[in-house]
Every structure is written in C-alpha cells, then in structure tokens.
C-alpha cells in the first residue's frame, strides 16, 4: 500500500471470483442432480 492507494491486489480479486463461482456452480450442480434423481424416483414410483 502506498499513500492510501492499493497497488496490485489481483490475488484477492481472483480469490473472490473463484470462491463465488465455485460455491454457486457446486450448489447448482447438486440441485440439478437432486432434481434428476427426484424425477427418476417419481417415474419409477407406482401410481397411487
């Protein structure tokens, strides 16, 4: 840091974007997988 101005800092930017898209992507992937599994279960379930 020089005179109140931050020099560099790309590593923080990369970390923030990486965490954001990893968490969002991971959660989306698990939800899609659970939705498919639920749909399969629904198709296989005998009708009431």
């Amino acid at each position: 840091m020089t005179g109140g101005i931050i020099i560099g800092g790309w590593e923080y930017v990369i970390a923030a974007y990486a965490i954001t898209f990893t968490v969002l992507g991971g959660y989306t992937a698990t939800l899609l997988a659970r939705t498919r599994k639920s749909k399969r279960g629904q198709d296989q379930e005998p009708s009431r």
Binding site: G9, V13, F21, V23, L31, T35, S38, Q42, R48
Partner: protein
C-alpha cells in the same frame, strides 16, 4: 401441493439458470478486463461486481422467505412452506458467500479479514439466524409443526434484514454506504447491473428447483400409505415376511 406441475420439466428454472450463466460471463468479463480500476482501491474494487449483486439478491431472497412464511401462516397452503424452505436455503448460501467476499475485500482495504462493525455484525446475525431455521426444519419431523414453527422463526429472523440494509446509515460503520448508480462511476455501472441481473436470474432458477424438491418431499410425507406398504407393515408387525 405441487401435483401436476411437479411432473413437468422445470424448464423455466433451467432457462433462468442458463441466462444467468451468459450474463455472468459478460458482466464478469467487463468487470475484470474492461472497467477501469478505482482510484484508491485499484484492482481490488473489482470484487464489487460480485459482492454487491450477492448482497442485493441475498436480501431479496430472504424477503421472499418472509413473504412465503406469511403466505403459509395466513393462507395455509403447503406450496408456501416449500417456497419458504427453498428461499431460506438459497438465502443462506448467498449470505455465506457475501461474508466470504466481504472478508476477502476487507483484508487489503481495512487490513483485517473481519471487524465487528454494525454492517458485518448484523449480517453475521442474519446468516446464523437463518442457518438456525434450516437446522430447526431438519430436526422437526412433523410437517405441520415444522412449517408453522419455521414460518414464525422466519418472520422473527427477518427483522434483522432491514437492520442489515440500513446499518451503514444508522451507525458509524467502517463499511461504506450502499452502492447505487448515483454513487458509482458510469463505466462501473454496466458490469454491476449485468451481474446483478445474472445473480437475480440464478437465484430465481435455484429457488424454483429447490421449491420443487421441497414440494416433492412434502408430497411423500403427506401422502397416505400405499396399499402394498400397508400390507408389508402389517406382515412385519405380525412377525411374518412381506
């Protein structure tokens, strides 16, 4: 209950997620490589393009949880319970991300990963309050009690959400005041807006998918037992084999 709508493919949710991916790609490219660095914070300010949309959409998601809680208590329809469960889970995820991004931004700008200033403290309280409601939903097996108790808890926990929003105005906070088109320079507005819409569409897609899952589980919990299952249960109770 969701009934027939659950059997259809959740095309709207998939479309919303796909649109979010495209918008995120465009918004993040502009935010990272086209928008100029801020005068004092330099490149670090680029975190704003994911942090601020996460904050806006986290609060909107928890507002939807609050509306759903009221919907369940006043209308007594199960679909509101599914919506509440979905929006709390997605809201917790976004609030957790919000704290992580904020912490990463705080280190180079404030010199610390965390500070107990009003904005950060109220956000942490909000996060843990809604995590508590998710935990409550896991522990209560009776669907009626689970839905009623968590709806009341959601209404109580939501009281913190406006406090989070206004904390930077009400108290002397280390955190800066809300970013708006009036406080952000014009070249920085475009990626901020694109990513805000991306986050909104992603949230809508995720809440849509999660609502269907919650509705499906409720359907199984509330459905009368199948005749085969009843026979099996009777056989097991009689000590024989099904």
């Amino acid at each position: 209950m969701a009934g027939n709508s659950n059997e259809k493919r959740p095309l709207l949710a998939y479309g919303s997620i796909a649109l979010a991916v495209v918008l995120f790609a465009i918004g993040s490219y502009i935010g990272l490589f086209v928008a100029p660095p801020e005068h004092f914070m330099g490149e670090v300010q680029r975190i704003m393009y994911v942090h601020v949309p996460t904050a806006w959409v986290a609060l909107v998601t928890l507002l939807w949880a609050f509306v759903s809680a009221l919907g369940f208590l006043f209308l007594r329809k199960w679909k509101w319970d599914s919506r509440m469960e979905a929006s709390i889970e997605v809201g917790v995820l976004l609030s957790f991300l919000l704290c992580m991004q904020g912490s990463i931004w705080a280190k180079p700008t404030w010199g610390v990963w965390w500070d107990w200033d009003p904005r950060l403290t109220t956000t942490a309280v909000m996060l843990f309050a809604f995590i508590g409601i998710l935990a409550l939903r896991r522990f209560v097996e009776d669907p009626v009690r689970r839905a009623t108790w968590s709806a009341v808890a959601t209404i109580v926990a939501f009281a913190d959400v406006p406090i989070v929003y206004f904390s930077v105005k009400w108290w002397n906070s280390l955190h800066q005041v809300q970013s708006t088109p009036q406080t952000v320079d014009s070249p920085m507005i475009t990626p901020l807006r694109i990513n805000a819409f991306a986050m909104l569409f992603l949230m809508m897609g995720l809440v849509g998918l999660r609502t269907r899952l919650a509705a499906r589980r409720l359907e199984n919990e509330l459905a009368p037992p199948l005749p085969e299952r009843e026979t099996e249960t009777r056989a097991i109770a009689a000590g024989g084999e099904a």
